[in-house]
Amino acid sequence: MPNRYLYLLSGLSWQRAAWTVVVALVATASVVWFFQNTFWDLLLSALCMSFTIMLAITIAGNLRQTFMPREGAQLLAVVFGSFLGILLVGIVKGRDLAQMFTERLWGVTVTTGLGIGFGCVITAAMILREQRARMQSDLVRAEAEKHRLEKQIMEARLQVMQAQVEPHFLFNTLANVQHLVEADAKAAGKMLDNLIRYLRIALPQMRESSSTLGREMDMAAAYLEIFKIRMGSRLDYSMNVPSDLRTQEFPPMMLITLVENAIKHGLDPCCDAGVVTLSAEQREGKLIVRVADTGEGFQPKPGGGVGLANIRERLSTLYGKSAGLTLEENQPRGIVATIELTQRSLASAGMLSPAVT
């Protein structure tokens, strides 16, 4: 038999063969009083029938077909297998097949009927057992899915924690302050103020998983103020957030990642001055937050945009399909990154936050 049809026999095992023998024994023992045949003669018939039926069921179960449900095909296989079984009995016992179906038709019919009866009971039991196994594996799979989601949430949380205060940012900013203290004390004070403002918002977020748009905007503003001094005249920024949107729930550290990207990958590589524009609006129950820059524009290259991919992942973990991050080219140059999410009140946003006791 060519290998490509071998799959039809998958599931055949010594265990199944052993069960078949047991069923044949039980069947023979339970009907032997009814027949005139000897036990061994009947057992031979039962074995022939049960093995053909078992083979037929196995093949029907493996058959790739879409005409009927698998269970239906298996019950049909019982009937077909019983008929084949009785033919086999005839051949094994060296009977004349033509005579079998004329003179001995009564006996043949009874035997076939018994075969079908036992076959159906066994098949039903098999189908039930399989269904139970399938339910069990569904349960296992659901459990695994739950674990996967939990892991994803944990990872998202870890990412938030790690994204907090980048040492480069901190030390470089401090180096700037160090210089300004001597060169321009007033500017140094301003920079320190902004650094403190930034750290005040950024540091507590290691323990929190939800934030408000207002907080995130404040943090971005402090960050941008710092970079405005650090980058000299190369950076300018503007912010347009209606004050009633400031209390809206917004996931932490996403806005700052977008602003960081705008500076690092947008404005920094290209050498003339650039502008970062932050805006937020409310439309059809959705909160739309944009970060636009006038920088280099997106250079898609393998490995690029990992921070953005993290935002996408976190959004889909937190909000499912109702939230998303889109990137578009800004006119005349640069990128617009947009986060869109369904508005939720802070009270219902506890998915990621630690349990309140």
Binding site: H168, A175, H179, P300, R312, L325, T326
Partner: protein
Amino acid sequence: MPTALIADDEPLLRAQLKARLANLWPGLRIVHEAENGRQVVEFFDLEDEKPDVCFLDIHMPGLTGLEAARRISKRSRVVFVTAFDQYAVDAFEQGAIDYVLKPFDETRLKETVTRLQERLAAPVTVESDSRGDPLDAILARLAAQMAPVGRQYLQWIKASVGSTVRMIAIDDICYFQSDEKYTRVVMEDGEVLIRKPIKELLDELDPDKFWQIHRSTLVNTREIAGVVRGLRDQADLKLKSRPEVLTVSRAYTHLFKQM
């Protein structure tokens, strides 16, 4: 009079280093200030008088300080300036490479200056023999470490949608299919055309995320709902979020054996 070059992408930090050096080493003349590694290399290629010392910030846009140092290390003495690079600092310690940390520690900077002065006073020829290759090896290793680790795959596809250009996250893409000159990028809720051919995409996409199932088709593995035997030796692939059925050609049916 010894000369020096300062490279940092932040103007205030250049000014700071310049001021500190003026204080600690009045005899040092700063001949050039660079904003990135490229400007450093350009300066070395164009100017005849090479600075004796180069203070290079490690993190600069474009060419990093490490890469710039590799290109000029034979022609000048390099001091790295960094805010926070633990593994780089470890390597510098082991390789006896000069470095200073930002924000500057006055005594530490002074040590560096003293060491530089001593070395500059020694005959240059002897020194330049003893350094050279080991330094290059350390820098090459560090530069490789600073580059993103492992094989990196495409995360976004750039495509025109109407009048705007959008970035499409590859996770949103159900499949790519070549269509004469273009490649169709099919998502759950629409499709766009890009010019990048399937062959190129195949090289840049994560092979675990996208499978080639036909000469002209790449399918997102997350989108595969099932595969059924089709005509001849082909197979039909059903998608989770699209109604159409994709053809798996014979050469690729092995992907779905036992699925």
